[in-house]
Every structure is written in C-alpha cells, then in structure tokens.
Amino acid sequence: MLEVRKIHYSIGGNKIIDGVSTTFGTGGFHVIVGPNGSGKSTFLKIFSGELRPTAGEVMYDGIDVCSMKKDALARIRSVMSQNPELHFPLCVYDIVMMGRYPHFGMVHTSHDDEVCRMAMDQAGVSLFADRDYLTLSGGEQQRVQFARTLAQIWDPIIGKNRYVFLDEAVSHLDLKYQHQVLSLARGLTSQEVTVIAILHDINLAINYADRILFLKKGKVSYDVQEKSQIKGEIIRDVFDIDAKVIDSGMAGRPVIVF
C-alpha cells in the first residue's frame, strides 16, 4: 500500500501540489487524470521518490520513502516517464537490460537475460532486439520503455509489494498498442502489483481503472471509485469542457462524449 500524507510542493512561490492525501491500495489500477499544469507529473515524481515534497510524507507499506535506499526502492518500483531522450545510438536490448540494473552488480546473469526476453515478448518488441533505439518510431520506442519498466519489477520479492508508475505511457501508441500496454499493466495487478498511471484519455481511464483521481490545481478534486459515479459535471468542473456520459452498452462502461 502506498500512502501519501498532506503532500505540499511549491517551487518559486508557486504551489504545484497543495495538500494531497490519499492511499493507493495494493493490487489496484489507479489512474490520475487532470488538465495540463494540474500537477500530475510532479505528484508522480513525489510519490515515486524522485522529488522531495516541501512538506508531507510518502509511505511505502508503512516505510517513509526518504528513509529507503534508492537502489532498494528501484527493485520494487519502476517508472515509465513521458519520453526519455536518448542522444546516443544504443540497441533495444541494452535499454531493456537497464531495467535489470538494480538487480545485478557488474555483470548480468542468465536470469536477467531471460527476464529481458520475456518482457520484450510481452511488450511486442522482440523483433527489434538488435535494432538501434534511435531508428524506431515514437510508438515503438514507448513499447521498448515499457518492456524496460516491466523487466525492472519482473520478479516478485518476498515480503515486498511492487509498484509500477506510468506517466502518459501510451501517448504515442496507436489504438491497438494503447490497449495492449494497458491490458498488460492491468494484468500486473493480478500479481499484486500496484499500478498508478497518468492518462490523458478519460475513456481509456474508465476502461482500465479501478479508481480515478481527478487532479485540479494541485488538489484532488474528485476521487471516483465506481464508474457509475462519473458525471458530466465532474468533467466540466475539472477540464472546463462540456461533456456527457452515455452508456456504451458494455456492462458498467460509460463513455464520455464531448
């Protein structure tokens, strides 16, 4: 369980995160949505332990993230950022192997090789293994990053919960791969992995989330646990756009139209 308590973050006098407290239950698929500049990415950086909040606490299963060692943290949680930039030619396999860096010293083991292969299989990038990452399309690159993210938390660790954070991880993917990546992430939750994703597409969020957090101006303005609770007013309030909720005909899956 990941718990954040009264998180504040401000930079240069601007409040980016303004008193957020919430809990991310183990094995859940939590989605964070919100308009640009609502503090989503900053929030993710804070609870992933990369950024220290100005005030407040982040607790991983009751342990303060500030007291955890970075490499120990890296073995239980992986993060896929918006678009990591690579300026050097590097083959896809080497990048996926980076996900295993927290798990070995100087030389990787055959188990690490195996994990990389399986992760690449799942992400559908096995064919690219020897290709130069820089020659791939944006969507292919994103899938490679996803494979790396998978490889990092592949092995269950006894007595520890695992976490995957996705920061707009599907923004460059076509329909098929958007659903493939989110399904894979969804599948992780059945292995007790907690997934927290920032998504822009509210309908994708409804499809996959167990729970949706609406962030606005650095605060959680709505915390929706049941899909039936999603109303046009919420969308209007958060995104400032008129929206209507209609029934898709698929059980319990409302669709937002604008």
Binding site: K45, S48, E50, K70, D71, A72, L73, A74, R75, S78, V79, S81, P84, E85, L86, H87, F88, P89, L90, C91, D94, I95, M98, G99, Y101, P102, M106, Q152
Partner: protein, 354 residues
Amino acid sequence: MRKASYGTIYAFMVILLLVTLFVSVRIGAVGLSYPKIIGIIAKQVGLPYSSSFSNIEEQVFLQIRLPRVILGAFVGAALSVSGALMQSLFRNPIVEPGLVGTSSGAALGAAFVFVMGKSIAGPYVDSLGPFLLPIFAFAGGFLSTMVVYRLSNIFGKTNVNTMILAGIAMNAMANGGTGFFSYIARDPQARSITFWNLGTLSGADWHGVVLVGSSTIIGVLLSLRFSKALNALMLGEEEAGYLGFRTERLKRRVILVNTFLVAIATSLVGVIAFVGLIVPHMLRLFRSSDNRFLIIGSSLLGAILLNLADLVARILVSPSEFPIGIITAFVGAPVFLFMLISNSRKMQKGGFYA
C-alpha cells in the same frame, strides 16, 4: 550482419596496440633496429644477447624512447576515457575535455606552477616539485569544468549552445591567465609554457610514466564502476534516479575522476585536444554506446591513436619534432565540425538539443 563480440574487438585492439608500440619505439631522431632493441631489452632482463649496440643507443631507447611511447599510451587512454565520461555526463556526443575547459584550466594551474613555483613553495620547491604541478593542474581543471557544467546544466537539461559558449569563455579566460604567466615569465619558462600549451611528449621520463600510469589505471578502474550508472544516465537524470542511481553524487564523482585523469596527464604533456572527442565517437559508430565498452575501448584505442599521432610528430620534421597537439587539432577539429553539422541537422528535424 552479426556485430563482432566485445571480446574480439578488445583482442584486436590489444594486438594493434602492441604492434603500434613496437613500431613506435624504433622510429625517431635516432633510428633503432629491432635486433638492437631486442638486445637492449635482453640485457636489461639479464638474458644473453647477440646484437651489438652503442651506449648512446641503449640510453636513447631506455631513457627517451621507451618512456615516451608508454607515456603516450597512458595519456591517450586517459584523455579518451575522459572524453567518454564527459560525453555521458553531458549527455552529448560532442563534448571533450578540451572543449569544456578541463584541459585549459589544468594548463593554467600548471603555468602558475612553472612561473610562480619558486615563490609559493620557496626552498621546498625541489622536494614538492613533482607534486606541485599535478595538484595545481587538478585544481585549475576542476574549477573550470565545474563552472562550465553548472552553466550549461540549468534545470537538469544540458544546453549544448550554452555549454560550447561557456567552454569558449572558460578556455579564453584560462588561456588569458596562461598568457599572463608566460608574459611575466623569464624566457626559458615562457618557452616551456608555449611549447607545452601545444602539447608534447618530448619531456617523457620514467617519473612521468609512473605518475600518469598510476593515475590512468586508477581513473579507468573508477570509471568502469560508473559505467552502469552512466548508461542509465543516457536516458536522463530522472530515469537514472528511477533505476536506483544517486545522480547528484554520480555527477560530482564523474567530474572528479575526469579531472583527475585529464589534469595529471595535462600537467606532464600539455594540452592535447580532440583525442577525447574522436576516440569514443569512433567506438560508438563502430559498435555501441554502452559505457563499459566505451571506457575499455577508449583506453585501448586512445593509446593506439595517440601513439600514432606522436609517431607522425616525430617523423614529420625529423630529426626535430612537431608538437603533438597541433596534429591532433588538425585531425580532430574537422571531425568536431562534422559532428556539429550533423547534430544541427538533427536539431532541425525536431531533435533534442533544445
């Protein structure tokens, strides 16, 4: 086509390095033949030898040629590994110690010792001498690298334009300082500053070999420990953090090791530019940007190329000789320009050097 394995590449480079060393020890103002060289070596290790050689030839080989060639190998390794480190740190393939001010800062530190050594160390100058130079070179190199790094790395993103401009400014300032010292220097000191600013291996002796050799070996081993973290850093500082690396500490350590490598080498042989740029670049084109490969490969290929450059420096105007820094600059600067052009093309395609 299947790429050659790292082991094969290393083996090939080791053989090439041995061949280069073997050829280089023979050629120079005093030509030595292989039977003579073998005879001299045999005499040194106490084996029987049949070839005849003069006392002078023996001295030339043992006191001039051999230390020079070995020093060249170590300096080439140090500068190239430093280039690889800097490129990973700045996340930019067109960085090298000469561009970001490390070399010229170290040069300034050394010029200071050349001219002011007597006044700062007083009667102890002779006993402190061997250490004074590297220490001041290190301080100068470290300061200027830090300034350039800080300036070009605002908001966690390396801005290559700022970096090059900051590098130019630091280089100008350091060169101005070095110029000032050569201006107030007495003639022989000034001459040694000038020649040394162009880079030369002509002052090589065993003391230098031991100093640069140990600093290079230590520096390369330390660099290898960073190779995983530097790989992760290629994805960005945040990503490296998510993979469990403490990026701030890593950056500080990399700058320290880099300065250590460059400053010690520079304090003995002067400013030799562009080696650190070309060698890692060749390796990247040839095989991979994996830092473990780059660091091991750079130390081998750097040793080979610098020895070849020094060989050219000795042959070109034999029996006199050419400053090696001029040769590396003539070869390296066009490569640098070429890389700059291809980088700006990438930028126009909506690339990344914002």
